[in-house]
Symmetry: C2
Subunit: 385 residues, 2 copies
């Protein structure tokens, strides 16, 4: 069989084959990087780059994959600490590393560490009993947000309560857990809006920040992102970038770091959640910035110089495609939606439509905010109707 | 083995696995299109999407590949007419189709057809004997350009001559060929510069044009593209777009069509060559336009509505990486080049460096032409030194 002599390309191994891994593929192709994905199953969103199917909680399945790549990174933050540490012990380059990732995996650890670093966070406490929780609620105007430290995402494992009785089963679960179980409780922040600050950091220290963005959530799931956040020029943007860079440096994060923020009604910025990977709030950058977050993540984990984070136009608006059309697929809706919105960029994750599922997103870029918002929302509606 | 339920994606089959097929992969991923490549060999530039290795001149190898996709398109124009027609006869959707492609495959046919359509071409003739060629040369100030009608690209099969004796072996070859052999001879055009006009056309008729660009060739190979062509606003751009759209419609081209043009010293626009596929002169659009040529080609061959062809900034400058570094690979040069040029976009085709070989390109986008030219050239130099 004929064989062309190819360059041995740098190899990045990605654990997890969801849409974040999928969207790393175009960036890898352009950079000339070979992307190899350890997939949870056949036929997933990043299936094109799947090298094998394996269980990411089993070091015996992860290590053979990891040994064949130059650096390991992630589509999600669920790889257990013991697996991560065994990789590092075996000499594998892992970015972000286990020391950083534990702060994205455990919200109590994250809150403790950010408080130690003097970064702005909501008032919070570790509570191990209903009594402790009710005491916190009593001291905070009768309401609080309770979070399971591990395993939550997209609003799961987060509940607003007025009494510890509302999370009785969570206390039962942590009691049965046997570990030093506790829940995280936080003040119910009176916020004006939610923001997100994305940065990237290389192992050798360079950091780069994109503009601060505004995020809109529906039912705890991101539905829309406006970049930059309206009315954020100057002090607000500077503070947000400083906070995110301090977190990246303080926690030793490598790759892309997303810092979800509250802008409070009394004009404070408080850190809500962290994600140590490309993040929904950064999807706009693929179409609206000189360097998209997936390219930047690859550059960062390979310790390559970071790309510019300027924007193509004054505004980028990203709208998630949640659930997809009630019948058929996104593709079936292309003719109408693309014809009506020729400047909107469509990103189709190739996933089966299912209520609430992120099956794609669209981005509109332009110098008129109202126009970009209209175009992105209308295209998203057209693709899902 | 676990299996995620995926959507059955629309499938585009690409014949040929060079860098043009490679650069279709990112566009396919974003659009949610499954790209399947029929590769000439293992390990080629578009290897990630290779479905199989096969001989594109053998219908028995092409047809089984073609039957499994929704539309067949191309990385190059070398698939023989009999293979193309057999595909169409078997009910395969082929874009561009054989009737259009023959004009890209045979320069004599192309000249005849463009002349019939009244489009501006250099003075030309079909010559079968050295005597006919010398007569043409004598009537055109003692010089002419001789071209083999088939198989030429990147300056191959093209020669400037002052006497038929200089292409004696070409006449011998066409005599032995046995077919109705002839060479194409054209006036040696006194041109100010070379331009290229890219358009895309869907089977259902919609056309879209990018801005007219200026191309610089070195040794017959494209080395640099400036988009839009300086001093081309107004009439020049309008004429070029009209010519390219007339060709797309007149020849029934589907997908991307590149029309290489001469701007003569007496201010005429003459059609030089045609390419019926994404083209080097359109690479800038991946980074500089709302819709890159690879996405537009996929939309067009799938008969989907075409995307906007506006630009992100006033200027885009693309510089080819020809040959690569004398030692090592492009990747080895990343640290220095990316650090010095954070806003330049690098496209690495994953090919082994070899003198004169196109191994990648870089694009700089911005509102200052001099700055964009400097950035693109300096980054390209840094990647190849």
């Amino acid at each position: 069989m004929p064989r062309e002599r190819m360059v041995r390309q740098v190899r990045v191994g990605v654990i997890g084959a969801g849409q974040l891994a999928r969207m790393m593929i175009p960036a890898a192709i352009e950079l000339g990087v070979e992307l190899r994905v350890l997939a949870e199953a056949e036929g997933m969103s990043a299936g094109l780059a799947a090298d094998r199917v394996g269980d990411y909680t089993d070091i015996d399945q992860v290590l053979p994959f990891a040994r064949e790549v130059d650096v390991v990174t992630f589509d999600h933050e669920h790889v257990p600490q013991d697996v991560l540490r065994a990789l590092v012990d075996a000499g594998v380059a892992v970015h972000p590393g286990p020391d950083a990732l534990r702060y994205a995996q455990d919200k109590l650890l994250m809150r403790e560490r950010l408080s130690e670093l003097g970064l702005p966070v909501p008032e919070w406490a570790r509570v191990s009993t209903p009594g402790e929780l009710d005491a916190f609620i009593g001291a905070h105007d009768g309401a609080a947000v309770v979070k399971t430290p591990r395993g939550g995402y997209d609003g799961k494992g987060v509940r607003v309560v007025r009494s510890a009785a509302e999370v009785a089963e969570w206390f039962s679960a942590i009691a049965e857990d046997g570990r030093d179980g506790a829940l995280l409780v936080e003040e119910l922040v009176d916020f004006r809006r939610e923001l997100a600050q994305l940065v990237a950091r290389r192992p050798s220290g360079e950091v780069a920040a994109w503009p601060l963005v505004e995020t809109l959530q529906v039912g705890g799931v991101c539905s829309e992102v406006i970049a930059p956040a309206p009315h954020s020029a100057g002090r607000l943007s500077d503070v947000a970038a400083d906070v995110a860079i301090s977190i990246a440096e303080g926690l030793g994060v490598t790759g892309v770091l997303a810092v979800e923020l509250f802008e409070t009604t009394d004009d404070r910025i408080l850190v809500n959640e962290l994600a140590m990977r490309p993040h929904n709030s950064g999807h706009w950058s693929m179409d609206g910035s000189t360097t998209g977050q997936f390219e930047q993540h690859l550059r960062a984990v390979l310790d390559l110089p970071l790309g510019g984070t300027g924007t193509h136009a004054d505004w980028s608006v990203m709208v998630n495609l949640l659930g997809g059309p009630a019948e058929g697929t996104l593709d079936d809706r292309y003719r109408g939606a693309l014809a009506s919105h020729p400047t909107v960029k469509v990103h189709n994750y190739g996933k089966s439509p299912r209520p609430g599922r992120k099956v794609g997103h669209v981005t509109a870029v332009g110098d008129d905010l109202d126009e970009a918002v209209y175009e992105a929302r209308a295209a998203a509606a057209g693709l899902q109707e």
